[in-house]
């Protein structure tokens, strides 16, 4: 009887870690979606990805301090601001990079510079201290599921993430622009010759990448609590892990990557807590080395 009760407790802990990991991971699936899109379509390695998430979070913060208390308005604001910024920013950067001798490596370095700029500007405007966005849902009582309490904020963030990812999936697979986008993913030059306006489509995808990052930023206070200007780099690395674990170019792959990341992180926190933050790095390296062609496509060096 005694051992049965102990096993019940251990099972509950395991179950909690898995469910929380799923909710957590779905948010990270959205968080890394834009990285996936940019690489898939333009071979751009957006090392500033996490910093765009940070920008989204601070847009929500500014809105919040000006009395806009609902996350929905924050989401709308981010679509307008980061969408516009992305579209405008693409034209001086994009064609130059994709036409260069090594777009992957040059974009990696360029976006590192962008990341430095965004971080520095955020520190100048908002200071170094963490700030909180006190969405109402953070104070709602936990939701009971099978006898254990889960945070409504995580459930909301995971739900919105799934909706956004499905919307992007719908765009890619059920609209004309989406077909064009996938054609560019397949072969840039060939799609150009079939009359697709590559740069216009690329600019839209670039904007979409920044918008999804920004949306994750608006949701981030729900999942990771306080926000701060230097939060970007860590998020970028996590996003790389998620993208590489999942599969490149397919937004549903991000969901898979996010789930694997979230669940393994929470299991590590539960059973081997001192090693937990090593999880994304180990997953990333293992997948890179063991399945370089499989999950990633063109991961192996040819020259």
């Amino acid at each position: 009887m005694q051992t049965f009760r102990v096993e019940g407790r251990l099972l509950r802990i395991l179950f909690y870690a898995i469910i929380s990991g799923m909710l957590f991971g779905l948010f990270f699936a959205l968080m890394s979606l834009g990285l996936n899109l940019l690489f898939g379509v333009m071979r751009m390695v957006n090392l500033a990805h996490g910093d765009f998430v940070m920008v989204g979070a601070f847009i929500a913060y500014v809105a919040y301090t000006h009395g806009i208390l609902s996350p929905w308005l924050g989401l709308a604001l981010v679509i307008v601001i980061l969408g516009g910024l992305g579209f405008v920013l693409y034209f001086p950067i994009g064609p130059r990079l994709t036409g260069s001798y090594d777009p992957e490596m040059l974009s990696l370095i360029l976006f590192f510079g962008v990341s430095q700029i965004l971080e520095a500007l955020a520190v100048m405007v908002f200071g170094n201290n963490p700030v909180a966005v006190g969405y109402h849902v953070l104070t709602v009582k936990p939701v009971n599921l099978l006898g254990q309490a889960y945070q409504p904020s995580w459930i909301l963030a995971a739900g919105v993430s799934v909706i956004v990812i499905l919307a992007v999936y719908g765009y890619l697979y059920h609209t004309r622009l989406g077909y064009a986008t996938r054609a560019i993913m397949g072969d840039r030059e060939e799609s150009e010759s079939t009359g697709i306006n590559v740069h216009r489509v690329s600019a839209i995808v670039f904007a979409l990448g920044l918008v999804t990052a920004g949306l994750a930023g608006v949701l981030s206070p729900l999942v990771i609590g306080s926000i701060y200007p230097t939060m970007g780099l860590g998020l970028t690395i996590t996003a790389f892990a998620v993208v590489i674990i999942g599969s490149l170019g397919n937004p549903l792959g991000s969901i898979l990557g996010g789930l694997i990341y979230g669940i393994s992180l929470m299991l590590m926190e539960t059973y081997l807590s001192t090693w937990s933050t090593m999880v994304p790095y180990v997953l990333l390296l293992l997948i890179l080395l063991l399945r370089p062609t499989g999950l990633l496509g063109k991961g192996v060096r040819r020259a």
């Binding site: 990696l108 700029i117 965004l118 892990a241 390296l285 192996v300 040819r302």
Partner: protein, 309 residues
């Protein structure tokens, strides 16, 4: 004068100037810590230069070797009771061993390699700093090397390392293998035709750059004598070394040196008192560089028809 001979002569000149400047400077300039770090970054930047300039691998996790060297040397002093000078060699060798372990990374291309190497460096950091390794590495508590503290000797070692590394890059640049690597950065197909085993040559360059970073880390540990794992595995060390190299121009001897002297000098003028302004400037510089000057500032000289060493 034949072109190669003149270029060699120029390189030797740079090396001698560096050695004299950093050897004599402490007599005139009291802040040896800045001089020491400047040399350290030139050494690291040359390590990045060798790897990126000659093989196209951009090592975001380069700091992993630096940290491995620092810890290797420190443990040799603490547990092996070796004198500082010998421990430097141990540190460099530990880093080479790490390089051997990480050889499979070379299978990865471009961005994958950059990200993969960063993940590897973070893993090394988490292992070294984990409380489970308290008994060996002292975990998060870091290293104290009071018994071997010797600022003058360790400074002299860094001057030596600087000379050796500059000489090494010079030789590599004018060797058959170096030139072949440069010519074949992106095209290994024709490599076999001229009888160079590109894979082996690249592995060799990788291990050499690991050795360089390990040596720099070891001498840093000796010179600083008190540090935490976060100090020697700070990703900024990789980032600085890479940006300095790219700023100056990879694939040359002069480029990384110029990059360090200018940017690290700038960092010490404004980066310490108002880091966010320096970071902004840093970011703008990088973006401008990639868009308008992807081969570094020394390429400006080359455009004027000068032969850059």
């Amino acid at each position: 004068m034949p072109k190669i001979a003149r270029s060699l002569w120029m390189n030797g000149f740079i090396g001698v100037v560096l050695l004299v400047v950093f050897g004599v400077a402490p007599g005139f300039y009291a802040n040896t810590s800045i001089l020491f770090q400047m040399m350290m970054y030139i050494v690291l930047a040359q390590g990045v230069n060798v790897l990126y300039g000659f093989t196209g691998y951009l090592p975001f996790g380069y700091v992993g070797f630096f940290g491995a060297g620092a810890y290797g040397a420190s443990l040799a002093i603490q547990m092996g009771h070796l004198p500082g000078s010998v421990a430097m060699g141990v540190g460099a060798m530990v880093s080479v061993v790490l390089g051997l372990v990480l050889l499979p990374l070379l299978r990865l291309a471009g961005a994958y390699f950059a990200i993969g190497s960063m993940a590897a460096a973070e893993i090394v950091y988490y292992v070294v700093s984990n409380p489970a390794l308290d008994k060996v590495t002292n975990g998060p508590y870091g290293i104290q090397l009071v018994q071997s503290y010797h600022p003058v000797e360790s400074y002299a070692f860094m001057v030596g390392a600087l000379g050796l590394v500059t000489l090494g890059v010079m030789i590599l640049r004018h060797s058959r293998i170096g030139m072949a690597l440069l010519a074949l950065r992106e095209d290994s197909v024709s490599a076999a035709m001229i009888g160079i085993n590109v894979v082996t040559a690249r592995a060799g360059v990788w291990l050499a750059s690991a050795l360089v970073a390990g040596l720099a880390g070891a001498i840093f540990a000796w010179h600083t004598s008190v540090f935490y794992p976060t100090t020697v595995f700070d990703l900024n060390i990789s980032v600085f070394a890479i940006v300095f190299t790219l700023f100056g121009g990879a694939g040359t001897v002069l480029g990384p040196t110029v990059g360090v002297v200018v940017l690290f000098g700038l960092y010490n003028v404004i980066g310490i008192s108002s880091p966010q302004y320096f970071q902004l400037l840093f970011g703008v510089l990088i973006v401008t560089l990639v868009l308008f000057l992807p081969n570094g500032v020394v390429s400006l000289l080359r455009r004027r028809g000068w032969d850059v060493p």
